[in-house]
Every structure is written in C-alpha cells, then in structure tokens.
Symmetry: C2
Subunit: 219 residues, 2 copies
DNA sequence: AAATAAATTTAGACAAATCTAAAAATAATT
DNA sequence: AATTATTTTTAGATTTGTCTAAATTTATTT
C-alpha cells in the first residue's frame, strides 16, 4: 500500500493515541495533529475508503488490522531512525523526534531492514519505546507511570512520553534517563508532585505532570 | 528558505542539467523530470517569484546565485546519503539513487553535518560525483568522457552519469567501477563503440553510448 | 422532556502541483 | 517572405490536503 505523508502521519497518530486512551475522538486527534476537526473527518473518510479504518459517522473510528500493520511499519521506521541519530550521529535524545518525523516517510523496505541490521536490531528507541520487528511484532514492556509506583519501591525508568522535546530537556536537567534507578520518597496530594531519589543523584521534587509522563518498571 | 519537495526536485534538476548542457530548455527539463512542459512553466514562475531563478517568458531561464546555493545543499544531502547507503548499509551503487532521491528532502542542517562527520567527510559519492561541503563549495574533477580519451592512454574511471541504475548494472557486469584503471585499445567509427582493457580483466567492447557516460581522468 | 452545550460532519473555499488542449511566440523551411 | 514546425505559455480541470463557518447529531443540564 502506497500512502502519502499525510496519510501516514494520521495513521501513526491514531495508533499512538489508541494505545494510551482506547477511545480516540475527532477533536483530540485534531489537537494532537494540530489541525482542524474538519480535516480529521476528511481523512477518516479517505482512510476508510482505503480499508485501513473502521469508521461510522458520529459513532467513532478505529484502525483495523491493515491499518495497524501500516502504523507499525511507520513506527518501526521512526524509531530505528531515532536510534540511528542518537547511537551513530551522537544527537541528543530530545532533538531526534522531529527529524525522525520526516525520515519515517522514506519507505524502502530494503533500506529499513539494512538499517535495522546495521544498528544491531535494537529493541527500543532512545525514549524507551519498543521498535517493531520486520513482521510488525512489538514487545510491550510491563511498565506504569511513575505516579503509580509504590512508595520506596525501587524501579527503573523505562520510557517517557516522546511527543515534544520539553520533557526530555527537563529530565536532562535532573539527570534522569532511560535506565535510571528511581525511587519515590514522598507524594504530595496537593498537586501530585513527588519527592524522588535517582541513584547517585541528590533528592529532588518533580511535578505531577512529569510523574504521569515518566514510565517505570519494578525492579 | 523553506522549499517543498517539488521545488527542490526542480531546482536540483535545473542545476544538474546546467552543468552538462549550459542552456536548459523547458522541454528537456520536462523530459528529465517526467512531467509536462506546462508544469515546468508553472514551476518556473514560482521559482522566479521566490527569487531563485532568472526567467523571461519564451527567452529562457537559469538559476541565480540563491538558486545555485539551494541546489548545492540538496545535492550535498543526496550524495551524502548515497555514500551512507553504500559505505554503511552495504547497498549496491546502482540501487541507492532512488532512496537518496527521498532522503535528500530531509533538510535539518545539524543532521547533515553530523552525517558528514560520521562518514568522514567524504569527497565523492559512490558514482564519483563530488560532494559539496557545508559552505556549498564543490571541487570539480578534471575529467572527460571515456569516448574522448586518447588511444592507449592509461586513465582512471572517475564517475558515471548517475541518473538511472541501468548503466551501473551494466558496469557491474563488466567489472568496471569508480577507480578502475582503464585503457582504450581501439575505436570503431561505425558506431562509436570502443575496445577497452580494464586492469586485471579481460578485454571487452562497450557501446558508444556507454563511452559517453563513463568519465575518466588521465593517469 | 426541553433546552443547552459539545462534538462531529458538511458545504464551500483555497493553495499546491499536476494534467490536457488550445493559443501564442519563436525557429526553421521552403 | 510566407509557410510550416517546434517550443513555450496560457486556460481551464483535477487531486490532495487543508481551512472556516454553518448544519447536524449526540451528550449534558436544567
Ligand atoms: Mn511524520
Ligand atoms: Mn521515540
Ligand atoms: Mn528528490
Ligand atoms: Mn550519485
């Protein structure tokens, strides 16, 4: 299936939102893609006509099997390029998303499979997100938002929400990265902020917003 | 200057044709880009309005200084990616052009300069064409078509016309590559074909067409 | 159950990039 | 110099992706 850059961006966004929120709606997709709701409706019709999406007017929409497959191909390309930019070109993890957003649309399978092999078939991208394999299989980590981590439980930072570089900029400042050992010392009900301890770093406090967008797995 | 993918393809094509033929005309550009002459005229107007092109109706057109600068940026990206695909991913030199044709439109300067450094600031792409440096400077080789090489003169293959993979496919078959030592043994006036000797290969005969698209420098 | 609010879709417009067919300008032949 | 041929441009359509404003449907309040 040959898809335009726009179609690919929509498909990938729907996929990514479906993971986090189960039910995606027109308005939230419009906000996410920074377009108007009317444009979303237009594209939904097109993706339906290409049989990548189940869609009933006013009722809702959802990628079907074919749509999912396409989404995973795009995500594979995106994450492999992000890995390349960090591992080979030495770019910062908070700068690679926008470039990968363009590179992901170059769709030669030979290119991507060679890139994958060249990079040593990495399992996750620089933000901790899993890279689908050639057949579209993706291993989901048993992770949870830091805000749901039990008090004083040791855990490892596994990923961060990767839309936008702002969170990574901040984590760089705190010295938090993928793989950091982390523990919650205190939770403030007032605003959901957390006092935390990163291995070999001084204690610090992060906002509830941050605690929702940092993911960890138990250790 | 932010340019669309189409604008970039037109600019690059005009630049490449201007090198070979001095005067480019609407029809030949249309053939080269596989579009209609009407589309060429439309784009000429747009590029003129963006001040990248000198253009007078019916009279002719030519990239100006700004247009040249843009062309060299695109060509730099194209050739660096081609080098990457061959040197790092191990692709064949006759397969990389089409992929680079897409990658060249990803225009982050940081990406390209890091890629350049990572590849060791290569001077030429896999087809022997020079890679412009960051400031757009390009070192032209003193090369000539193989058909103009004096009889029995030792020479080195320096580049091949790189539009389309067909010539490279054929050269692979003959065992000719960039850097091959080559000598013309005999020239047939009838059809311009040449009997040649490649170092450590058996003698063979190539067509006049081929002899026009293989470039060499004296040795 | 009405009324109001929110979400979604339609109607109609626009810019970009392309096309075909016709017109206009230039070049080449007789 | 006229005629014919070639090249180039214009006129008018089409497709894709987008928008705003209005209409429609669904959800929420009173
Ligand atoms: Mn993208
Ligand atoms: Mn990522
Ligand atoms: Mn291109
Ligand atoms: Mn090349």
């Amino acid at each position: 299936m040959k898809l335009s850059e726009s179609e690919e961006n929509y498909i990938k966004s729907i996929y990514n939102l479906q993971i986090k929120t189960e039910k995606v709606n027109t308005n939230s997709l419009a906000v996410f893609l920074n377009t108007s709701p009317a444009s979303i409706t237009d594209m939904l019709k097109k993706l339906k006509s290409k049989k990548l999406l189940e869609y009933k007017k006013y009722y809702g929409f959802r990628l079907n099997e074919a749509g999912n497959t396409e989404a995973l191909k795009i995500i594979r390309r995106h994450r492999l390029w992000e890995f390349f930019l960090v591992a080979k070109l030495g770019m910062e993890w908070d700068k690679v998303h926008d470039i990968a957003e363009e590179l992901e649309h170059v769709s030669s399978p030979e290119l991507i499979n060679r890139l994958d092999a060249y990079l040593g078939k990495p399992k996750t991208d620089p933000h901790g997100d899993p890279i689908p394999d050639e057949r579209g299989k993706v291993v989901l980590l048993k992770q949870k938002p830091l805000k749901d981590l039990a008090m004083k439980q040791n855990a490892i930072v596994s990923s961060v929400s990767s839309q936008g570089h702002e969170i990574m900029e901040m984590l760089n400042h705190y010295g938090i990265g993928i793989g950091s050992q982390i523990k919650v010392l205190k939770s403030f009900e007032f605003d959901g902020s957390l006092q935390i301890k990163i291995a070999r770093k001084p204690e610090c406090i992060i906002s509830g917003m941050a605690a929702q967008n940092i993911y960890v797995y138990d250790n």
